[in-house]
Amino acid sequence: MGIELFEYDYLLRSVLAAILGSITAGIAGTYIVSRRLVFLSGGITHASFGGIGLGYFLGLNPVIGAALFGMASAAGIEYLSGRQEVKEDSAIGFLWAFGMALGIIFIYLTPGYTPDLMSYLFGSILTITNSDLIALAILSVVLIIFFLFYYRTILYISFDEGFARTFSRRVTFFKYLLIVLVSLVIVMNIRIAGVVLVLSLLTIPPNIAILFTGSYYKMIIVSVVIGLVGTLMGLAASWYLDIPTGATVIFTLVLLWVLSRIIVNIGRKNRRRRLLLNQ
């Protein structure tokens, strides 16, 4: 009975996806925002579209193709940026377009109709499957354990890589591991917000969180909570207004960001006024 409910209630599934998506996006998002890897993550996102196309072409699950492309491009960019032969932003730009081009070619070559292509481009939280949820759940657990266990190392590599190298010879290994995890988070969240919108799912919550806290782990927690609030509000709004979910979620998050900025600015002004009055 319970299983049946889980299987048929797509609303329950989307709420679960929202929770797990927010956890993964909050953790990975804090990492990429604080290390300024947002553009790089954009490259990974779009490169993974090539994998989606390949998945369709080979008749595999597109998510698997996307995950392979995402991880490979993540490792590739990290490798290229470690050497100074190629400008990193140019490399990302190439990969960005190349992945999209590959995806389009593969999908064009795939015989027949590709019905849910739009859901990969713009997301479709309502059509999320149980296996998507299981993958998201495993990823959440891996991320939480990894970040709990190596919190200090991740924090210090992000803050000052040069110094981190003085205490660990495994900095490069950690960077690879982290960017591969980020790519998996992006790919799994493509189901929720789509290739075009997924990056905001990772970047907006940490950018709201950093307005309120100057600590890394609090930023992660606040990002997860804000992501969850934004996703659930967006989900509800899209349900009642009958508009696309992914876009509504992103719209809601941007709204939350604007609101937070206003609140923080008013708070600052008031503090200044109080300070002036006290003098």
């Binding site: 200090r152 924090l155 803050f159 040069g162 600590s215």
Partner: protein, 247 residues
């Protein structure tokens, strides 16, 4: 006199260029060595070789194993790669100095926090403990990084141009602090400001691809020329061309 470590016939390259050639010198315990030399002369590379961050193409650095290993070297890099808008507290930055001893899966204990707070207190930045880095001045930040280098009670302190970001009002204070630290810790300090540091260091090492160790805090322009160390001295005191202790 025991030596803390010895650099033996080291040649090292940076970005494909040979910047150190056949460098040999010994550093005795509690020495305070001012490392001087022209830009690109290999000063920073020398520190990185000692730290094990750059592998020499030839030669080696030998530690006196009874006293020194990688985990008790404190390091203050020249240009910190750190991003001051990063969400990290002063205390967390200082605590990162303990990572070598604690390993990658480090858990900071209450005792570690106490140690960090003691260092922060000693450096006079206790009231900034919870400030964001972006709200601090260059001198305050430099103290935070010095705290990071000192928190693990190192036996050796490597400082790369620590005076660069320090405002002049704090400069003397900063060097006095180093002098006190030097009572128990050996210091190697890269600096371009020979005049100022000569009041604090005990010896000089001139690095310009090769290295000349000069076991005195007094050094003259002529000696520098002889060492192949083309830097300009600004004379302090009455004796021209000679840098003396402040008197």
């Amino acid at each position: 006199m025991t030596h803390l470590f010895e650099v033996s016939d080291v040649s090292a390259s940076y970005n494909g260029n040979l910047v150190l050639e056949k460098v040999s010198f010994k550093v005795r315990e509690k020495d305070f060595v001012g490392i001087i030399g022209p830009n690109g002369g290999g000063k920073t590379t020398l520190l990185k070789v000692i730290l094990g961050l750059i592998k020499p193409v030839k030669g080696k650095v030998v530690f006196n194993k009874d006293v020194l290993d990688y985990s008790n070297i404190g390091y203050l890099p020249q240009v910190s790669e750190s991003d001051i808008t990063f969400p990290v507290s002063v205390r967390d930055v200082v605590l990162s100095g303990l990572m070598h001893k604690k390993g990658v899966a480090a858990r900071m204990t209450r005792r570690d926090f106490k140690i960090a707070d003691e260092v922060i207190e000693k450096l006079g930045i206790m009231k900034l403990r919870n400030a964001r880095l972006s709200e601090m001045s260059g001198g305050e930040l430099q103290r935070v990084y010095l705290g990071r280098a000192l928190v693990a009670s190192p036996k050796l302190l490597l400082l790369d141009e620590p005076g660069n970001f320090v405002d002049s009002s704090f400069e003397q204070n900063f060097y006095d602090m180093l002098k006190e630290v030097n009572n128990i810790i050996t210091i190697l300090m890269v600096s371009h400001d020979v005049g100022t540091i000569s009041a604090y260091v005990k010896s000089f090492a001139c690095v310009n691809k090769s290295l000349h160790y000069h076991d005195s805090e007094k050094i003259t322009n002529e000696q520098l020329k002889g060492y192949g160390c083309p830097i300009q001295l600004i004379a302090h005191g009455d004796v021209p061309h000679t840098v003396l202790k402040n008197h």
